[in-house]
Symmetry: C3
Subunit: 270 residues, 3 copies
Amino acid sequence: MVADKSVTIKSDIGSPLIDHATRLIERLRVRSPKVHCITNTVAQPITANALLAAGAIPSLTTSEDEIGAFARSANGLLVNLGTLDAERRRAIDVALEVARETKIPWLLDPVFVERSALRLDYARKLLARGPKAVRLNGAEFTALAGEKPSPAAVRAFAKSSGTIVALTSKADLVSDGERVATVSNGDALMSKVTAMGCAGSAFATAALAIDADAFAAMTAALTLFGVAGELAAAVSNGPGTFAVAIIDALHAMTPDVVRQHARVADAWTR
Amino acid sequence: MVADKSVTIKSDIGSPLIDHATRLIERLRVRSPKVHCITNTVAQPITANALLAAGAIPSLTTSEDEIGAFARSANGLLVNLGTLDAERRRAIDVALEVARETKIPWLLDPVFVERSALRLDYARKLLARGPKAVRLNGAEFTALAGEKPSPAAVRAFAKSSGTIVALTSKADLVSDGERVATVSNGDALMSKVTAMGCAGSAFATAALAIDADAFAAMTAALTLFGVAGELAAAVSNGPGTFAVAIIDALHAMTPDVVRQHARVADAWTR
Amino acid sequence: MVADKSVTIKSDIGSPLIDHATRLIERLRVRSPKVHCITNTVAQPITANALLAAGAIPSLTTSEDEIGAFARSANGLLVNLGTLDAERRRAIDVALEVARETKIPWLLDPVFVERSALRLDYARKLLARGPKAVRLNGAEFTALAGEKPSPAAVRAFAKSSGTIVALTSKADLVSDGERVATVSNGDALMSKVTAMGCAGSAFATAALAIDADAFAAMTAALTLFGVAGELAAAVSNGPGTFAVAIIDALHAMTPDVVRQHARVADAWTR
């Protein structure tokens, strides 16, 4: 998300990233990836609707008895720590073991780790189990990385964690430990709707499921989701209509619209 | 749901079924049936809102300690297997025992049985406990019935199960083991909104709760819900606005609108 | 909520209460209270969205392992008994102990106590643990207080319970055991949307969190929420669009709009 929408920055690194973003929506519709989401009960409806609108197939069970079967037939796995409970912890264990076997990518969304020491400790353990990517906000980053977010800090944390780190803020930062991309799409209303970040993480998991280049996939997902947010804001009267309109915008998205609105740049060398 | 909306088929068997569909909305508003829904956490908000919009009174607790009391004062019971967990299985046991005692109808919605062998086995056991009706989609039917859906297969499965079977697809099929009705209402956007089928099952449970003719009640419910979907699609920009508009459409539904839009036919003899 | 919207009653006691209502929205935006909500899974999305739209910060975990940490950093606590289960009961115990230590206000919403003897008994025990306020509807009041709602009954129940009692109905009644205020704002559509009362209770908890005068805070919260409902109804086509529009209305609310629409009076001396 960005304050000044009139500034468009496209660096040399930006172009291939924008290509990934541009092609993402059509690839999702052709591939229809199955995304299993272990996510909080608050986020479940908007998460499933965002995935369906974009062409993916969500499933959301958290029962330890069944999650193995669901994970085994999935193409990507989301592990979101909101409303974490004993059942969800057991489900995460089973699902991660399946993901390790089937080699599907999984994404960690460490919701509210700054509010609970137990959850922070648990998130650190999950980080050590090799997620393909982590998606988090500034407060969560600070709690996990031990320093305030910045392009350098995000790159360092990605390098030390051995994973893609995607920090969503006014401008999103994505790093694989070497490169750092900045995504300046989005709208301030996104932070006024509950679980919008969680839905974005699920959407990014769908992108990971169909793109072997995880850095490009995460950047593309944040770009497209941000563009959908901008289109939704343009037809909204507040966060209520916005939450509805962003689902419509994902459903109506086209490569041309993404190409026209995408603002992706190499933040590190800027 | 139907591909070609210009074709209207009304057979001899269709007319009394359409009468049930036409009268359903006013009967729901007069009777205000209490419908207890054991359903998945994803579906709970839209399920409760669909029932309220149509004049029914939803309750949704899944605690084994309390569900007996809720089921005892209910007029109908929905058993939906989404996000199935140990608590829900215990709740289902208690609620079905109450339903057996109080002789209220219950409907089985075997969500995603094709994704989990454990859930498929559990659904088979529930089927043996005598639901008044089963509502499911094509993949779920294939998993449970062991063959692809067709009018003959739906009729055979209804006969062998001793229950009403309602298969929702482009055209819905409803059978009591002898008759087979086809409902050609609905819109493709219904499959792009999470838990729309679950909400339809809850709505059908409300119809079962006030109509002793379960075959006509299920056909009427699918017809009215499909008509609401068509009206919603006409004012929607995508699945986000559609999910909102179908609640408005249920709330504004009148017998005349149902009569005007209903497309119900005897598929078997066609 | 009120039948005849043309009647505006403003007594001597009304004016300071309206001042609280008028100032509430700006105070919420400045203070951004953290409100931890132990609430039912049906209500979670609309509850979180109502709080965010009004400027508060919701959290919703119900895990006994984590809720202590969340409650400790919260400014107010909601205890809503919908979809009550063993996990929620344990979470409530932990959270109330923290609330007692940190002296944050908590609000009890005894959802559906008229449907379950066990839940009624549990609600009585919670009432004895000193909530700052109770928010409930007529059926819940009758079950808990043992008599039909009336200004005198609400006052007597508030006095005997030692808490603020806020009864929502066509006209809302709020009492601290001495005074009784009547809030005549709202719209009939509010009762056609699931968890609207639950969301209102969460909103009232946010008001309690920033206003030491709990009687005025509860009256202000019901007034402002009712005004939002009236504004939403004016732009809605039914309960679907209404549920979306009330979130927009909370987000767009201004002191002037509240002052213009508020209908608060001293019902007892009327």
